[in-house]
Symmetry: C2
Subunit: 155 residues, 2 copies
Amino acid sequence: MAANCRFAFAVHILAVLGLKEKEDVTSDVLAGSVNTNPVVIRRIVSTLQQAGLVATAKGARGGVKLALAPENISLGAVYRAMGSPQSFSGHRHEPNQRCPVGKHIVLVLDEVFSSAQAALDDALSRRSIADVVATISLESKAAPRAKKVSPRRAD
Amino acid sequence: MAANCRFAFAVHILAVLGLKEKEDVTSDVLAGSVNTNPVVIRRIVSTLQQAGLVATAKGARGGVKLALAPENISLGAVYRAMGSPQSFSGHRHEPNQRCPVGKHIVLVLDEVFSSAQAALDDALSRRSIADVVATISLESKAAPRAKKVSPRRAD
DNA sequence: GACAAATGTAACCGTGACGCTTACAGATCG
DNA sequence: CGATCTGTAAGCGTCACGGTTACATTTGTC
């Protein structure tokens, strides 16, 4: 897949939103949790919004929240939304058309790539943001050493 | 997966070798088919050799050939050999440990990544170089417009 | 209405990954 | 010996991407 951490960031963001459901969370707070710049967050949020996974509110008291129930957001959907459809990369230049391999390899590879991609997508789709949140809550209970990022009575 | 075309090149190379089994093919010829620089080929071949998929012969009349039967080289093995184990990329900085999500997300993502990776590997392993060669031969028969790269009576 | 608090973007930078190329050392066959 | 190949090191150019700054726009609150 894409070698960027946009997918990781997106899951992270959605997990935070899933934990604070119905609240509007600002990109500043999200940036604090992910440990990056708010603009980076907003860029990803923008993408997620276009995919219909989150809803944003502008202006004072605005922020981001989930547009769907956590259990209805599969990681496959996130992966697809983040535009990481190309795990693979084909030939940079067109291969030699006068060689039978060069002439046909691209089609063969396309087929291989898309089937592998489908398998990957399938594996990711077996998990939802709700699962991620549940795992995090569970581990938090097990080792309750960390507070929430918002300084307002964490538990 | 890795966004490089090393995997595509590797499959291409192995397909050529599969088509000319038992012959020693030079990196120049391979570069001609892939349409790149011989050094790029040699680098990939070197990796494939370390994985035991090809054998090289130095010196005059040297070259590369398959070390295994084409049907015993799965695309999963090629993928793994090319060191593209990281389709995903995690957080660049460590997330905020004082946020429960930040504290646990990395482990959750690791698990997600590795299972997705396994699914991908599995899908790739269902195909071999022999399959690729067979597909190419078939399509070449269907539309026999291209000659081999070697100018020696293609069919 | 003024102001503060947010999102939404555009623009730019620095960095890292990667393919390409040149160059050269070493091995091997004739 | 000389031609032919592999094996590498080194450097270059490019591209994608995260990070940052800056600013326009929207919106709730007083």
